[in-house]
């Protein structure tokens, strides 16, 4: 299944400047893998060394955080809008 994946600004330089790309996959993990396959420069931003999702990246399906749906195993809905978003955090601690 082909879905639309929205890329954050910081990834667009690794994807030919595109803000949105099409990717194939039946699960969120497969969709992310397809983005990496098409745009290898995104790999270090999206993938953890263990093959999972980078710990500072969040993925949303139709504006729902996939961590609360089923993580990378979450089945992709037909026509879903997938958004990749950097986790922005820090502090004085």
């Amino acid at each position: 299944m082909s879905v639309s994946v929205r890329l954050p600004t910081i990834l667009r330089t690794h994807a030919g400047g595109l803000s949105e790309v099409s990717a194939e996959g039946g699960t969120i993990g497969e969709v992310v893998d397809d983005v990496v396959r098409q745009f290898p420069g995104t790999s270090s931003h999206l993938k953890a060394p263990d093959g999972g999702l980078h710990r500072f990246v969040n993925v949303y399906m139709n504006d729902e955080d996939v961590r609360y749906l089923g993580g990378l195993e979450t089945p992709v809905d037909a026509g879903a809008q997938i958004s990749i978003v950097p986790a922005v955090a820090g502090g004085s601690n």
Partner: protein, 137 residues
Amino acid sequence: MLRILRQQWLEMVGLALDCVPEEACGLLAGPPGDTVASFWPCPNADHSARTYAIDGLDLLRVERALDEGGEDHQIFGIMHSHTHTDAYPSPTDIERAELLGPWHFLIVSLRYPDAQARCYRIIDGVVTEEPIELGPG
């Protein structure tokens, strides 16, 4: 170099004060370069005096608004406050900057009676301070 307008600076300090005792945060956006065209206050999802986090949906909201603005403006920086410490990136700030490579990191410190701001680039864990130019308006 980061260029901000006086009005934006006042807005950032106001936000930092309004959020006490919690840390405040917001996103900096503009055309490619160093000039802040818009400041986007965001709720601190951590509601903490020692950490901040911007909810991914808030970041998405800002990115969509910028895309719809059609002016090629992008998020290129983050402002956050330190309520009781100097305006220098903490180990957490440095660690969490990993994916935000070219962003400007503006820190507003409320440690002293007058708010202070300093700005940094954090690339591959290396912190480099950059000047802030305050413009009129």
